[in-house]
Symmetry: C2
Subunit: 199 residues, 2 copies
């Protein structure tokens, strides 16, 4: 064990996800030797984020105001909602510049092992947004893994009766990838989802 | 890019060693969602370490006082100095409970590519500690890699004329390891350093 504050810092760093005891120690020593102003900026950034960032009351995305910049943006199409698991997925989709609708951040995916059921996700908030009939399409953009697929299946079944169009992102070969290296599930999905190549 | 403070936090985290852009984003979102008190403790630990931790004036180890707890401990044998690269090596050796002497932390190893020569290490401070003839043995415990070996070789050559006994940690098979998986250099060293097996 190190003397007092160094060990405290190692302990606190070690509680972060993906940081094991060795990394925590390495980071602590980096912090010890780093420029004091840089480290003060890091500490301040951690505190500011906790103090200033909230979650958008409409879509659940991170925001410094009560509603996020996308929900406030009147140029965004209010008739389409893209449902994602996390705020970082919003960013990934925004980077494509292919989508001009709104979002809904669930805050995770259904995962019985981790104790996450539909009630732990922002599904009730999504249903509330569908009340006034502005929304005509919901795009399910959960992760293409077990939990994400389960969540989309659950949502699709629930939304069926509401009468909005519900779509899912296409599965298939990643662009720039090699067919020979695609796993069989992905390749199978690419076959299932094949489209007309003429016009 | 995220809104203001979130992006700032991602940037600051991404400047830490071994934290790439993806990890920085993941950590930032963890911090966003984590308990505010926990995160305050993390930020405080970073600031306290910068404010309160200094380096021992004698050995260069991390310390909250002018001299570290090992140099202050009168029960430690002052006639032996174990020379290590970093403070974390002190901890590793302390864990063995096999050593009761003092330490000297060089602050790195000779590495011409990274611009670290003997002048950048705490070698002058080591020589000063040898002035009063209390020290009779120096154990070179640098890392068993290229830079560490170069540093030990340099120190061994320099200390030869001073008349203290200079030793080096044994190289050989790691305990609990498998002979068949040992690399050839390690196995070669284990042969060179073989010892009598009879009493």
């Amino acid at each position: 064990m190190y003397e007092g504050v160094v060990q405290e810092l190692i302990d606190e760093l070690g509680r972060l996800p993906g940081i094991g005891p060795k990394s925590a120690q390495r980071l602590a020593f980096h912090i010890l030797e780093a420029d004091a102003d840089d480290m003060k900026r890091l500490a301040t950034a951690i505190i500011s984020v906790k103090e200033r960032v909230k979650f958008c009351q409409i879509c659940g995305n991170v925001s410094e105001q009560d509603t996020c910049s996308i929900c406030r943006d009147t140029r965004r199409d209010p008739s389409v909602i893209c449902v994602v698991e996390e705020s970082k997925d919003v960013l990934a989709i925004e980077r494509t510049r292919a989508y001009r609708g709104r979002y809904h951040v669930l805050g995770g995916a259904i995962n019985p092992i981790a104790g996450v059921g539909p009630d732990q996700l922002r599904i009730r908030e999504l249903l509330t947004r569908l009340n006034d009939e502005t929304v005509t399409e919901i795009i399910l953009a959960t992760n293409p893994n077990l939990e994400g697929e389960a969540t989309s299946t659950y949502l699709a079944r629930m939304l069926k009766s509401i009468g909005v169009s519900v779509t899912r992102l296409a599965s298939g070969l990643p662009v720039g990838g090699d067919l020979e290296y695609a796993d069989e599930v992905t390749l199978g999905r690419a076959f299932e989802g094949r489209r007309s190549a003429i016009g």
